[in-house]
């Protein structure tokens, strides 16, 4: 049966390869429509501040400027949004919460004029104390970044299995270490970009946008603007990378382009610069992890306790999922009977964390594998043998993980052994 299949088991060029190889693939940034205007976003220079006054009159008077949208105006026609916690607005009207937070949007006949108009917008701010350290943000009495969110803790994740206190009592040795993982951006080659075109005669909105989740784009635009979904057509053309940073579906870029198009009756394109992409789009969540591991002298890991602070940034995006997954993946492929894993998701005045390939797993794995190396060294055992001793073995299958997932296959030991052999571990570890 297998030998007659035309695609399976064959190495075939990807369908879009030709267009990309000849430079014909069209990304949102490459697109243009007749009468198109160029949009730019005015951003906060402060990490935390109240917006007192927004004056766009000088900017509006610049020849070539066709529309300026403020946070106040947007608040009248759109609803807060977010994948889990609806704590985002396309433009802020009361408060800015990180350097780069969106305050106003301009549509003009050229990119240069739109850029110039930004310099003519006058905003009066009242600076507030900026919380850049999540541990400080979590303290009692810390200023609230979002009203009503006490200690800036927006979410918690907890996993408990067995009895970790008993586990530590039975352990021969207990090891403790704090790990800090950093805030990283995936830097997709193509920046966030949206081209929106609203037809005021039919009430239909069309948007081309560099989105990884185009159905979210349509849903969020419709919901936020109070449009019927069937009146919103969202198109994902060729996309120059995302890695998770374009998964929310709708960003300020999309919402502002859409509303500016509605205002002007013209298509509006907004493309972020690399600086904006780095400063004001999603990142991988940075974490602070206090890990405690209990082991027997023979190398068996019997207790694993982790208390993590996940740095949410200024808005929540996929933070809850990351907080959950960063603990669910903390024990890794090891059979540890007693677990106490806790994560608090805490707002800070920094760019929002969001989905970025790994989604909490890389942070957990870094901490765990680092402390396992240290433990092996202190116990005087080989680092590879230590892992093989504790890892899920094919004979354990089906194996139920702490979250209740049933592993039906597990090649981790095979991976470890083959990787070790490939790098000449035996000879090198003799030194």
């Amino acid at each position: 049966m297998m030998k007659n299949l035309s695609s399976m088991g064959r190495s075939l060029p990807r369908l879009e390869s030709v267009e990309k190889a000849v430079g014909a693939a069209k990304y949102t940034v490459d697109m243009a429509l007749p009468g198109m205007l160029h949009g730019k976003i005015f951003r906060s220079p402060y990490a935390h501040a109240r917006i007192l006054k927004v004056d766009v009159s000088k900017a509006a008077g610049l020849p070539g400027v066709r529309a300026i949208l403020t946070g106040q105006e947007l608040a009248k026609i759109s609803k807060p949004y977010g994948p889990v916690v609806r704590d985002e607005m396309g433009l802020q009207s009361e408060k800015v919460r990180y350097v780069g937070d969106e305050v106003a949007a301009v549509a003009a006949v050229s990119e240069e004029i739109a850029e110039e108009a930004l310099h003519l917008i006058d905003v009066e701010y009242e600076e507030l104390p900026a919380l850049l350290d999540p541990e400080v943000a979590l303290q009692l009495g810390a200023p609230q970044i979002h009203e009503g969110v006490e200690r800036n803790k927006v979410w918690s994740a907890h996993i408990g299995v067995g009895d970790v206190e008993q586990g530590f009592k039975e352990a021969d040795r207990v090891f403790k270490r704090r790990f800090v993982t950093s805030k990283v951006t995936a830097t997709p080659p193509e920046p966030h970009a949206a081209l929106a075109s609203y037809n005021r005669y039919t009430g239909e909105l069309t948007i081309w946008t560099s989105s990884q989740c185009i159905f979210y784009t349509r849903l969020e635009l419709a919901t936020s603007l109070g449009l019927s979904e069937h009146k919103v057509r969202a198109v994902a053309p060729a996309i120059g990378g995302g890695f998770g940073h374009k998964v929310d579906g709708m960003y300020s870029t999309d919402l502002c382009a859409a509303v500016l198009s509605m205002r002007t009756g013209c298509p509006v394109k907004i493309v972020l610069t690399r600086e904006e992409e780095t400063m004001a789009t999603r990142t991988r969540h940075s974490t602070i992890r206090d890990v405690e591991v209990g082991v027997k002298n023979d190398g068996t890991i019997i207790a694993y306790c982790e208390k993590t602070i996940v740095d949410n940034g200024a808005y929540t995006s996929f933070g809850p999922g990351v907080a959950q997954l960063t603990e669910a993946t903390a024990p890794g492929p090891y059979k540890i009977p007693n677990l106490h894993l806790h994560a608090d998701l805490v707002y800070t005045n920094k760019a929002p964390g969001g989905a970025f390939r790994g989604f909490g797993n890389p942070q957990a794995t870094f901490a765990r594998e680092s402390i396992l190396d240290e433990i092996a060294e202190r116990l005087g055992v080989d680092r590879i043998q230590f892992r093989l001793k504790n890892a899920v073995d094919p004979s354990d299958l089906p194996y139920v993980t702490p979250l209740g997932y049933e592993l039906q296959t597990c090649g981790v030991k095979d991976c470890i052994e083959r990787s070790a052999a490939a790098i000449g571990w035996e000879e090198k570890s003799q030194d």
Partner: protein, 153 residues
């Protein structure tokens, strides 16, 4: 104060008028509709705007349009023949060297500049030739494999 410029791109002459501060990248993409060349950083760091100028790989975001007059410019749109693709394009497709495609035009032109200069480069020389081109998707291995497949041919 706009200036009149004639650019020779992919063997064709383009007459245009532009402000002297505009980069070749912006003129290619916005004035001439040649969107195959990409803007990744606009600061000369990523190489996605690579074009060939008199055979040399150059970041077009760092070249003023007015500086490019009188030169032979090649963009990705000028690689394929009428009937067939350039061997580098075929190799990139065959070796799976294209994922999101955003770095592809820059990589192809950097590779072409190298192979036009030395027909049988070592792997080290290939890696050095694309050192100014960032890829966020592939991890570079298949790009190097694709270019090496043409070394010595």
């Amino acid at each position: 104060m706009k200036k009149k410029v004639t650019l020779r791109i992919n063997g064709q002459d383009y007459e245009l008028t532009t402000e002297p501060h505009r980069s070749l990248l912006d003129v290619l993409r916005n004035d001439l509709g040649l969107t195959g060349t990409k803007k990744g950083c606009d600061a000369g760091d990523c190489g996605m705007c690579t074009v060939l100028v008199d055979g040399k790989a150059v970041n077009s975001c760092l070249l003023l349009t007015v500086e490019a007059k009188g030169k032979e410019i090649i963009t990705v749109e000028g690689l394929a023949g009428v009937e067939e693709l350039h061997p580098l394009q075929e190799a990139f497709m065959q070796y799976g060297a294209i994922q999101c495609g955003y770095c592809t035009s820059g990589m192809l032109l950097a590779a072409k500049a190298l192979l036009d200069e030395r027909t049988n480069p070592t792997e080290e020389e290939v890696r050095r030739a694309i050192a100014g081109n960032i890829c966020r998707c592939t991890g570079y291995v298949k790009i190097v494999d694709a270019i090496m497949a043409l070394a010595g041919s």
